[in-house]
């Protein structure tokens, strides 16, 4: 029976949501294959128990204080050892920052065929066929992986619906790895997030422009953002005026965001700003200027005073979402 090895990404014991998506992907691809999870880190008691509740054959754990935080070499050695142990036909990783770094390193070590950032995979006979978007999604490359070796595929997060834990109790097996970390050391990890939702990860972004008139006034956007579990962004003008730190700037020279919902309050939509958010699935613009360019890209526009609209929306969402 063929085996699929799934890399379960975790940070500080928190399992990345992509992990359950990978399990679902494995099930869809070949329901009959054994699914082996491997989790790498330190002090993972809670984590491995959570993973074992999924419909998988076993959970391999590689634990070491040296692996507490992501270490490119250490993780690559650990995952390679797991591959040698399991001898899977296919290894799945998430195309997260960690997965994107790890997959090629492991592919070289394990002499495996590699396809990264895939959005679909299927077997055609013996050959594993994957699809990879290229040129910002303008074209899809269909790639067949070599059949004479094992394959490694990283899958773009949110491509598959998550697998739900069945409450199963899969075997948990520790795996010993000899680490040679060399001179590369991970000495510190500083989080720059202020406890607010990170722009890059947010499904919803609430963004404000110069018309907010002060840092103080941005509060009304933060209130709305909290109700929606959204991140707060700002135009360059607002950042220049000091209303928000430049880390919150959305635009060509700031962050590029593609949330499901982008709400622009008092942002005119200069081309530099549009370049950073035009890819959002749904854009809602609130601006007093009817001719503001932002309305050109918005699905929903409202010519209104943001100081009236933002609190109204906050109240309404509170009711609807019961938060």
């Amino acid at each position: 029976m063929s085996r699929i090895l799934i890399f379960a990404e975790q940070r500080d014991g928190q399992i990345h949501p992509a992990t359950s998506q990978l399990i679902a992907a494995a099930k869809t691809l070949d329901p009959s294959a054994e699914r082996h999870l491997v989790v790498i880190g330190d002090d993972l008691d809670q984590t491995k128990a959570t993973l074992a509740a999924h419909d998988v054959t076993r959970v391999l754990t590689i634990e070491s204080p040296d692996l507490k935080r992501y270490h490119p070499r250490g993780y690559a050695q650990a995952l390679t050892t797991a591959i040698e142990q399991v001898e899977p036909k296919l290894t799945l990783l998430p195309a997260t920052f960690m997965g994107r770094d790890l997959a090629p390193r492991v592919a070289v070590r394990a002499k495996a065929a590699l396809a990264t950032d895939c959005t679909a995979l299927r077997y055609e006979g013996e050959a594993l066929i994957v699809e990879r978007p290229a040129y910002m999604g303008k074209v899809i490359a269909t790639v067949a992986l070599a059949t004479d070796r094992s394959s490694i595929v990283s899958i773009r997060p949110n491509t598959f619906a998550p697998d739900q834990p069945t409450g199963a109790n899969a075997a948990i097996e520790p795996l010993d790895v000899t680490l040679e970390l060399g001179s590369l050391q991970n000495t510190a990890c500083e989080s720059t997030s202020s406890g607010e939702k990170d722009l890059a990860d947010a499904d919803i972004v609430v963004s404000g422009g110069r018309s907010l008139k002060s840092e103080e006034n941005f509060k009304i956007l933060y209130e709305l953002a909290h109700v929606l579990d959204a991140a707060v962004g700002a135009s360059r003008a607002a950042c220049d005026a000091g209303y928000q730190p430049h880390s919150q700037q959305v635009g060509l020279t700031g962050k590029t965001v593609t949330p499901r919902l982008y709400m622009a309050f008092g942002i005119d939509g200069a081309i530099q700003h549009l370049a950073g958010m035009r890819g959002s699935k749904c854009i809602v613009a609130i601006n007093t200027k009817k001719e503001a360019p932002i309305f050109g890209v918005a699905q929903y526009g409202c010519v209104a005073d943001l100081f009236v609209m933002a609190p109204l929306l906050t109240e309404e969402f509170k009711q609807v979402l019961a938060r």
Partner: protein, 673 residues
């Protein structure tokens, strides 16, 4: 006087000078080859105009006049120095023609004494700007004072010598009026004192000239020798053209340096530029980056490169043919700081100002080429623009199929269906995608339609010209875009191109010919001006508005088009056109050129666009507040910068309009485009 002493003096000083110059010559030879021996007539013309004619000097009036006085004095007194050296051997030496009793001698004596006084006046003015008024562009240093001191002492010594000589010999020549006047003080002096003074004056002048000569190769006053060749060998190609990297792909395969990484990657002419800088600081005085407190000051960039060059002198002496210096990267925190490199807006204000035609933009782009293409050390914000240009043909990554969105409802033909038109309308990226600039595109296209001009656009086949990529040092990407665009244009056999974007205009006109694309390129302000002149477009609706016009660098300084936009605005009844203090060739950049449009300003006191907006608002604020006000421009990048500037200054009641929009309204009576 004393042939032996004069001989020793001449041999020692001229010998040392020859030694110094030989070293500098050798150092110059480490530079890369660059052909600069074409168009000799044109080159001699430059020398006449900029060296002998001192054409750019009076742009700073008083220091310019002072320099002209000192420079002319030098030319006049050159002969005098030769005569004095001759008198070292024969006390009555006068070059056979210039004796005080000979007509030529009399004329020369009058001329010489006049210039002695004028040079002293010039020195006084130059000292005033250094010691009393303390111009910010100048860095006060001992060398400048020493040189000015030497010049002054030489003049005084010369006249003192004449006076003592006349008094002692009893042969007074009124025509040597300075010496003659001074001699009246000496009549009572004993002859031994007079002899001493005569000797002192004589030897002071004769020796100081020679000492001065020996200081030159080690100082900024080297320009006295290098300025003329530097002007002679100036770049004669259009201002807006950057030198292409030839065979760029082969170079990569051969692992040759792209751009300038180390000092001997610069051409010999660039090194001559460094020799020639006189640190007058005019370049930095007009530099938008310096003005807004950025790390870049063109003067200091040149000085830093020169200082570095001079530290390599000894090493250069040991090189044999084909050998290179030990590589020391130029771009580093200790030498040319990356912030210096990336603060340049490529506006050419410095080059327009430099009295000795030193170039800056080409050097900065060459340095950027190296860090961008070989080290990938460019401001990360530019990555977005590069990627957009490469993948979607525009820096904002708009889908190419949206290129014609601006034309909705206007019935604009595409080349693919109507190739038999007079003009190709090259729309450009910003005018295709920027909502604000789209209105300018619509106004222009409709004005052309109204004037019966036949034109078509490339639509989806048009791609970024690559201007910003090129100026950010990404020559790869630029050449890729150039080749693709030229291929497209050639397919349709395009001859005449009209465009509203000065950046596209400059690249199409001056840079595409290097890649085989030769077109007649016309800016929309030029064509519209002609149509207004010919009466085809009639601006008949009054506009009660006070307006100032902001010069685009790529239109003005790059292409000498200052008048077409102004002529259009002036033809519109009711418009009062006022000029800001910094205008035309002194107009400050909006801050978007040289790829700055796609990155943030480097750290400094202020954004360039805010500073420029202030300058433009200053002239409008000084107008009676009875009419509405507007800033006119003729470039989509300037428009973006100034619109942002007005918003930041909360002065949005001041309109920001393209010349074409103003004309559209005057012709049609409404601003519905």
């Amino acid at each position: 006087m004393s042939p032996l002493f004069m001989s020793l003096l001449l041999i020692a000083t001229l010998g040392y000078f020859a030694w110094s110059v030989r070293r500098r010559w050798k150092l110059l030879r480490i530079g890369q080859p660059e052909p600069r021996f074409d168009q000799l007539g044109h080159r001699f013309g430059l020398v006449l105009r900029f060296a002998f004619g001192q054409a750019r000097m009076p742009r700073y009036r008083w220091s310019g006049i002072a320099h002209i006085l000192v420079f002319s004095g030098f030319l006049v007194l050159l002969l005098r120095s030769l005569i004095l050296w001759g008198r070292g051997y024969d006390a009555d030496f006068n070059f056979w023609l210039f004796g005080p009793d000979q007509p030529l001698g009399a004329v020369y004596a009058l001329l010489k004494d006049t210039f002695v006084l004028l040079v002293l006046l010039g020195v006084a003015i130059l000292l005033y700007f250094r010691l009393i008024k303390r111009e910010r562009r100048l860095t006060l240093n001992a060398e400048a004072l020493l040189i000015l001191g030497i010049i002054a002492v030489m003049m005084i010594a010369d006249v003192t010598y004449d006076a003592a000589r006349m008094t002692r010999s009893g042969e007074f020549h009124r025509i040597e009026f300075a010496g003659y006047t001074l001699s009246s003080m000496m009549t009572a002096w004993p002859s031994s004192l007079l002899a001493g003074v005569e000797h002192a004056g004589f030897w002071t002048h004769s020796a100081l000239v020679l000492i001065f000569l020996n200081i030159l190769p080690y100082s900024k006053h080297f320009h006295i020798i290098t300025a003329m060749p530097n002007v002679f060998f100036a770049d004669l190609t259009p201002h807006g053209r950057l030198n292409p990297i030839a065979e760029i792909e082969d170079k990569v395969e051969r692992e040759e340096t792209l751009g300038v990484a180390v000092i001997d990657d610069l051409s010999w002419k660039s090194l001559l530029d460094l020799y020639t800088c006189t640190e007058c600081g005019r370049c930095s005085d007009v530099c938008p980056a310096t003005h807004t407190g950025k790390r870049l000051s063109p003067k200091h960039l040149t000085i830093d490169l020169r200082d570095h060059l001079y530290t390599r002198q000894q090493e250069a002496m040991g090189l044999t043919n084909g050998q290179r210096l030990e590589p020391v990267p130029l771009v580093s925190e200790d030498l040319i700081h990356p912030e210096t490199l990336w603060a340049c807006t490529s506006c050419r204000a410095c080059e327009e100002e430099c009295p000795v035609l030193i170039s800056y933009v080409d050097k900065i782009v060459d340095l950027r080429r190296h860090v961008t293409m070989e080290q990938s050390e460019f401001p990360e914000q530019l990555q977005q623009a590069f990627q957009g240009i490469e993948r979607t043909g525009n820096p904002w990554s708009y889908p190419p199929e949206d290129r014609l969105a601006w034309a909705e409802g206007l019935n604009i033909p595409e080349m693919s269906s109507e190739p038999e038109v007079e003009y190709l309308f090259w729309v450009g990226c910003a005018p295709s995608f920027d909502e604000r600039a789209k209105r300018v595109t619509r106004a222009t296209a409709q004005l052309l339609q109204q004037a019966g001009i036949t034109f078509a656009v490339l639509g989806i086949e048009e791609m970024c010209t690559g201007d910003a990529a090129r100026r950010a040092g990404n020559e790869f990407l630029f050449q890729m875009m150039a080749q693709q665009n030229i291929e497209t244009l050639s397919e349709y056999n395009v001859r005449k191109i009209i465009t509203t974007c000065p950046h596209c205009y400059n690249t199409l006109k001056h840079e595409y010919p290097d890649f085989g694309g030769n077109f007649e390129v016309i800016h929309h302000t030029e064509l519209l001006r002609d149509l207004v002149r010919q009466g085809i477009l009639k601006p008949q609706h009054r506009a009660e508005i006070t307006m100032t016009y902001h010069d685009s660098c790529y239109l003005g300084r790059y292409n000498d088009n200052y008048d077409a936009p102004r002529e259009i605005l002036s033809a519109i009844p009711g418009i009062k056109l006022v000029e800001p203090a910094q205008t035309r060739d002194r107009g400050m950049c909006c801050g978007a050129g040289g790829a700055q449009m796609f990155k943030e300003d480097e750290p400094g006191d202020e954004r360039v666009n805010l500073s420029r907006t202030d300058q433009l608002l200053t002239v409008l604020n000084n107008q009676p507040q009875t009419t509405s006000t507007a800033i006119a421009s003729a470039c989509p990048f300037c428009m973006r910068m100034l619109t942002d500037g007005l918003a930041s200054k909360e002065r949005e009641e001041v309109q920001q309009l393209d010349v074409a929009e103003v004309l559209w309204k005057a012709v049609n009576g409404n601003d519905k485009t």
